[in-house]
C-alpha cells in the first residue's frame, strides 16, 4: 500500500518540469531567425543577470520580444486547458469530455466575431469580447444545467451541447452575412493560434493578470481533488463518505469554465489538449486527482510548447495554427499510449 504523498507529487512534477525546461529551450532555439543554442543560453543568462548591453539587439528582440512571450502564452494556455479538461471529465463523469463540450469556446468565438465586426482594430478588444462571451455562456449553461436547483451531470452535458450547437449556428450565420472583411482572420482564431502578441505594451501586467486568473481557478479546483477522487467512484458513495458533492461540482464547474474561457480568449480554440493530456497523465501516473491536476498543468504546458514549435517550423516560413498541430499529433499519440497499456 503506497499512498500518495506530497513528496511523490513534487518528485513527478520535478521530472515533468525538467521535460518542460528542455522543451522550452528547444522552442527558443527554433524559429525563422537563426540563433544557436549556445547563443540562446548566453542571451538568457545575460538577461537573467541584467547585462542587457552584452546581447545583440536582434537576439534580444527575437528571444525576449517574440519567442519567450509566445512560449509563456503557450504554457499558460496548455496548463489551463488540461486542468479544465481533467475537471470536466470528473464533473461530467465522462472520459470523453473536453473543455469545449459545454459551449464555452463557442461563446468566446461569438464574442470574438462580434468584436472583429464592430471594433476591428482595437487591440485587446478580441480578448475582452471573447472572455465576455465565454462568461455569458458559462452562466447560461449553468442555469440550464441544473436539476432540482443543483448541477446534474447529465443535464449539464445536454445543456452544454445544445448551447454549443446553437452558438455555432449563430457564428456560421454571422460569418456568411456580415460584410466586414476582417472576418477572414476568424478562421485561424477558430483553429487555435498562439501568434497573437500581447494586446498591450504592458507585457508584465498582461501575463501577470493571466497567471493570477490561472492560479485562482486551478487552485480552486485543486482544493477539491480529494473530493473528486471519491466522486469518481460514484456520487452517492461520495455523499455517504461526507463529500459535499453539490459544492464541489459548482467549484469545479466555475473553475474549469473560467480556465477554458481564459485560454480560448487569448488563443482561440486549440483542440485535443484538454481531452488528451489528462488521459496521458492518468496512464502514466494514475487517476488520483491530487497528482493528476499538477501533472496535467505541466503536461499541458509541454504539449502546447512542443506543438507550437512544430507548427512554427514544419512548413517554415508559413506558420500553421497550433490547433492543427495538436489535432494531427494528438490522435496517434493517444492510440500508441492506449495500446501500450499493460494491465
Amino acid at each position: 500500500m503506497r499512498p500518495l504523498t506530497p513528496r511523490r507529487i513534487l518528485g513527478i512534477c520535478g521530472l515533468l518540469m525538467g521535460v518542460l525546461f528542455v522543451a522550452v529551450v528547444l522552442a527558443l532555439r527554433m524559429g525563422a531567425y537563426p540563433i544557436g543554442v549556445t547563443d540562446i543560453v548566453k542571451t538568457l543568462f545575460h538577461g537573467a543577470i541584467g547585462r542587457w548591453d552584452e546581447i545583440p539587439s536582434e537576439y534580444r528582440l527575437v528571444v525576449f520580444g517574440l519567442r519567450l512571450p509566445r512560449i509563456a502564452l503557450g504554457i499558460l494556455v496548455g496548463a489551463s486547458l488540461s486542468v479544465a479538461g481533467a475537471g470536466f471529465q470528473a464533473l461530467l463523469r465522462n472520459p470523453l469530455a473536453d473543455p469545449y463540450v459545454l459551449g464555452v469556446s463557442s461563446g468566446a468565438a461569438l464574442g470574438a466575431i462580434i468584436s472583429l465586426a464592430v471594433v476591428p482594430h482595437v487591440p485587446g478588444a478580441i480578448q475582452a469580447a471573447a472572455f465576455a462571451g465565454a462568461a455569458l455562456t458559462i452562466t447560461a449553461v449553468y442555469l440550464l444545467g441544473r436539476r432540482g436547483g443543483q448541477l446534474d451531470s447529465a443535464t449539464l452535458l445536454l445543456a452544454g451541447i445544445v448551447t454549443a450547437s446553437f452558438l455555432s449556428a449563430v457564428i456560421m450565420f454571422l460569418m456568411t452575412t456580415l460584410t466586414g472583411r476582417d472576418l477572414r482572420g476568424m478562421a485561424f482564431w477558430l483553429m487555435g493560434d498562439l501568434a497573437s502578441p500581447p494586446p498591450t505594451t504592458n507585457v508584465l501586467g498582461w501575463f501577470g493578470f493571466l497567471f493570477f486568473v490561472f492560479v485562482v481557478a486551478a487552485g480552486a479546483i485543486y482544493t477539491t481533488s480529494s473530493d473528486l477522487n471519491l466522486i469518481l467512484t460514484g456520487e452517492q458513495e461520495a455523499r455517504h463518505l461526507g463529500v459535499n458533492v453539490n459544492r464541489v461540482k459548482l467549484v469545479v464547474y466555475v473553475g474549469a469554465s473560467i480556465l477554458t474561457g481564459l485560454a480560448v480568449s487569448v488563443s482561440g480554440a486549440i483542440g485535443y489538449v484538454g481531452l488528451l493530456v489528462p488521459h496521458v497523465m492518468r496512464m502514466l501516473f494514475g487517476t488520483d486527482y491530487r497528482l493528476l491536476i499538477p501533472a496535467s498543468v505541466i503536461g499541458g504546458a509541454i504539449a502546447i510548447v512542443v506543438a507550437d514549435t512544430l507548427a512554427r517550423t514544419v512548413v517554415a516560413p508559413t506558420e500553421l495554427p497550433v490547433g492543427a498541430m495538436t489535432a494531427l499529433a494528438g490522435a496517434p499519440v493517444f492510440i500508441y499510449l492506449m495500446r501500450r497499456r499493460v494491465r
Partner: protein, 286 residues
C-alpha cells in the same frame, strides 16, 4: 479472521459477559412522506416507526418491494429528514450531523460501485478514511493501517493490489464493505446486500456481518426481503408493509404465518426450528 497486526487500534476481545450494550441507534416515531410535487397529496407515507439497535446487533428491516425499506434506510443514513420524530445515532440526531461527522459514525454500503477510471483495491478502501482530517489531505500511516485492518476484517487482504474492475462480484462486495469499515463507523447500513449473490455468497456475507457485529462491535442494519436469511442472522427484525411498521421483535416474534402471508402476498408456511429461529417455506399445492 482477526484484524491482522493491528496493535491497539481495533483489537476487540469478545465482550465481557453481562456487559451492558450501548444503544447505538434509536428511532422514535419517525415518519416521512413524499409526493409527486409540492402541492399534491403524498404518494407514499412511511411510519411512524420506532425501534432501536444496540452494539453488536444485526437488525433487519424486512419487507416486500415498495414497502418503504429504502426510504427508511435513507432516513437512518441522514440523507433525508424525518417529518416527525427523531432518529439518533450515539445520542445525536442524525440529520443534524455535519456531513463528515456523519460519515464517521454511519457507513452506508452500496450494492454496486461504478468506477469511471481504474483503481486498485487498496486505493479504494483508503478512500474510506476521507471523513477524518482535512478535506485536501494525504493519507497517514494510521490511515493505511486502518484500511489494512478493514480489508483483513472482510477477509480481502489478498486482494489488496488487484484492480477493482478485475474482481468477481463477491470479491467486489467484500471490498466495498471494507471501505465502509475503514470509516470506523458505529453504524453499518446495508441496502439489499445479497441481491446479486448466489446462495453461497449470501451466506458468506451474512456470516461475515455476524462476525463483524460480534467481534468488532459494529451495529449492523440490513435492508432485505430475504425472509430466511433475516431469520437466521438477525437479532431483531423490523417488518414494514406499505410504509407501515407492523412489528418489531425477534424472528420468532415477528414471523407469524398469517402476518407474513398478508405482507408478502404468497402462500407461506412458518416452521419453528430447534435453534429457536423460524424458517419460512412456500406452501405446496398451489
Amino acid at each position: 479472521m482477526r484484524a491482522a497486526g493491528s496493535g491497539a487500534i481495533l483489537a476487540n476481545p469478545a465482550g465481557m459477559p453481562g456487559e451492558r450494550r450501548a444503544v447505538r441507534l434509536k428511532v422514535e416515531q419517525a415518519s416521512y412522506a413524499y409526493a409527486a410535487t409540492d402541492r399534491s397529496a403524498p404518494k407514499f407515507t412511511l411510519g411512524p416507526a420506532s425501534f432501536g439497535a444496540e452494539q453488536r446487533e444485526i437488525v433487519t428491516i424486512l419487507g416486500p418491494n415498495a414497502s418503504g425499506k429504502s426510504t427508511m434506510l435513507r432516513l437512518l443514513a441522514g440523507l433525508i429528514k424525518p417529518l416527525s420524530g427523531r432518529i439518533e445515532v450515539d445520542g445525536t440526531e442524525v440529520c443534524e450531523l455535519e456531513l463528515r461527522t456523519r460519515a464517521q459514525r454511519i457507513a452506508l454500503v452500496q450494492q454496486e460501485s461504478e468506477l469511471l477510471f481504474p483503481l486498485r483495491v487498496w486505493e479504494y478502501v483508503l478512500q474510506g478514511r476521507y471523513p477524518y482530517g482535512r478535506r485536501l489531505r494525504f493519507e497517514s500511516e494510521e490511515d493505511c493501517l486502518l484500511a489494512g485492518n478493514a480489508l483483513a476484517q472482510v477477509g480481502a487482504d489478498a486482494l489488496r493490489d488487484r484492480w477493482m474492475d478485475h474482481l468477481s462480484g463477491g470479491e467486489k462486495q467484500r471490498v466495498i464493505l471494507a471501505r465502509a469499515l475503514a470509516q470506523q463507523p458505529s453504524l453499518l447500513l446495508l441496502d439489499e446486500p445479497t441481491q446479486h449473490l448466489d446462495i453461497g455468497g449470501k451466506v458468506e456475507l451474512l456470516r461475515r456481518l455476524r462476525k463483524l457485529a460480534d467481534g468488532n462491535r459494529y451495529t449492523v442494519i440490513v435492508v432485505t426481503h430475504e425472509l430466511n436469511l433475516a431469520a437466521e442472522f438477525s437479532d431483531r427484525i423490523v417488518l414494514l408493509h406499505k410504509g407501515k411498521c407492523l412489528r418489531v421483535g425477534t424472528a420468532a416474534e415477528v414471523y407469524e404465518q398469517g402476518l407474513l402471508e398478508e405482507v408478502f402476498e404468497a402462500p407461506l408456511d412458518v416452521e419453528m426450528r430447534t435453534s429457536g429461529r423460524p424458517r419460512v417455506i412456500l406452501r405446496e399445492g398451489n
